[in-house]
Amino acid sequence: MIVLIKTELLKLKRSYMFLMCIIGSICAPFLNWFVFINSGNSEGIKAQFLEYMIQTNLFISMIIGILLYGLFTTYIFEREFTDNMYKHVFTIPISKSDLLISKIIVVMIALLILTITSYCFGIIFSLLGGFLNINMANIINSLIFYLKSYLIFIPLMIPIILVTLIFRGFVAPIAFSIIVEIILFIVCQSKYIAFYPWSAPILLGTNIKKNFEFAMIGNSSYNMISAVVIGIISFIACLIYLNKKEIV
């Protein structure tokens, strides 16, 4: 398994996609920084650091995350089709399950790097903007929010893997991500937010759930459980597909 992970990481060397995703992950803190600087200037007061960090994470959880992380996840699996590699790799005596798991681990590592990049740039922009209350407690609190979103994003990436394996190419998984995103926008404004798995990063990684709780049907942990369940089901479906289907 370690060898598989090492080789998967080697495949990312000089990868433009990863570089693009890193740049994409800086977008959220950068764009939010502009919003906070402008709003702060208009009201004549400095923005709060924690509020800025949580709003940035909301932006990531709601918009950037699904699309950017989804794009990277698709890339990890799709490039083997593009580079015509599956038929070479599958002639090596390695298990398809191990290959799938190693790729998911690489996705996890990459998503963590992207999350930490967003987080670090959030702090840098906060310092540049002179935001208020940049202290250790708030730095740790905001990190916890970011990590919670990150963790729940992992099972949510597995349905995208399944779509990539079945349909091959970037079109289907990107279309899937966009549909997920559109539904998320609709659901986020309704009382059914707890029932939609892709709203889990928002409810876990931000403090906005208190805005919903009074009107929300069900418990806020529902979507966390549904996100994990959908991840497990998709993982099993991926394993069955890889082992049954002749994908080369």
Binding site: D83, N84, H88, V89, F90, T91, I92, P93, E246, V248
Partner: protein, 302 residues
């Protein structure tokens, strides 16, 4: 010992039979050429041998063992199916390193040795996306050797190579077979190349094995013939029959094809000239594999 042995190997996709009841036997150290038109079933057969595609029926034995235990057997096989795939953002060395790691190759110099063999040493740090088709093909072939295989399964490995590259690869594969006793199964559309390197050739047509040719025997017992072009075919035919007792011939347009007394071409030539005919062409020709292959795939129903 048979390194590859298939029994009644069949592959169907929906109602289409792609490989039909194939019985193959490839011996140790043999270079087995696999010939067939596009869609004949060559690649599907090779994919089945490598466990990439499940047969609909029939069995496959590699090294005398059932392919169902494929993980153990695949360690002993090197393969190149269709065009070689690489990670374009990685160098030649890094691409080989990935496969070396996956096979668990511990010999540190192995990759350099292979790059040397493939004539790619000076390009080891060049990104593969900048490689020409021929260079990729060479890299693909040397990649098949990374695990020191006993059996090589190569599907169209000389596609995209220039004539010098084809010659080098041919000589290289022949040397692997003779020196290392490596068994090689190779498919190609370049029949003359297969003819030059293979010990045995299997001709696949519409999924069925039409014929298996032992190349040495084919070359020894091949049908030779004399082609003659003269200014008066009717007169020439009369002379052949009356003066030389030649009756095994065919007249094709203004040419005469003679199938007997092949070693007497000089006598035929002298006789025709002595009788006042103008001989503008006379040479001994042989039925090449290409013609034989064409005859089989066009004329014979398998």
């Amino acid at each position: 010992m048979d390194i590859i042995s298939t029994n009644g190997l069949t592959k169907k996709y929906k109602n289409q039979i792609v490989v039909d009841n194939l019985n193959l036997n490839v011996k140790k150290g043999e270079i087995y050429g696999f010939l067939g038109n596009n869609g004949a079933g060559k690649t599907t057969t090779m994919k089945m041998l490598l466990g990439l595609t499940e047969p609909t029926s029939g069995s496959i034995n590699l090294f005398g063992e059932d392919i169902k235990r494929k993980n153990k057997l695949l360690k002993r096989v090197g393969s190149l199916i269709e065009y070689p795939g690489f990670y374009g953002n990685l160098t030649a060395y890094e691409n080989l390193k990935i496969f070396a790691d996956l096979y668990g190759v511990s010999k540190p110099k192995k990759i350099d040795e292979l790059l040397e063999i493939g004539g790619l040493s000076q390009y080891k740090n060049k990104l593969v996306r900048k490689f020409s088709m021929g260079m990729k093909q060479r890299l693909g072939i040397i990649r098949t050797l990374i695990n020191d295989p006993e059996l090589l399964i190569l599907d169209e490995p000389i596609n995209g190579l220039d004539p010098n590259g084809i010659k080098e690869i041919r000589e290289f594969l022949v040397s692997l077979s003779t020196e290392k006793k490596l068994t090689i199964m190779i498919s190609s559309h370049i029949l003359s190349e297969i003819e030059q390197m293979a010990d045995k050739i299997g001709i696949l047509h519409k999924g069925a094995l039409c014929d298996e040719i032992n190349v040495k025997e084919f070359k020894n017992n091949v049908n030779k013939f004399i082609e003659i072009k003269v200014n008066n075919v009717f007169e020439a035919v009369r002379i052949l029959e009356e003066k030389l007792n030649i009756y095994s011939y065919e007249v094709r347009k203004d040419e005469i094809i003679i199938f007997e007394r092949i070693n007497d071409s000089h006598i035929i030539n002298k006789t025709l000239i002595d009788k006042g005919l103008k001989v503008t062409k006379l040479y001994v020709n042989t039925l090449c594999l290409e013609s034989y292959f064409t005859d089989i795939t066009k004329g014979r129903v398998c």
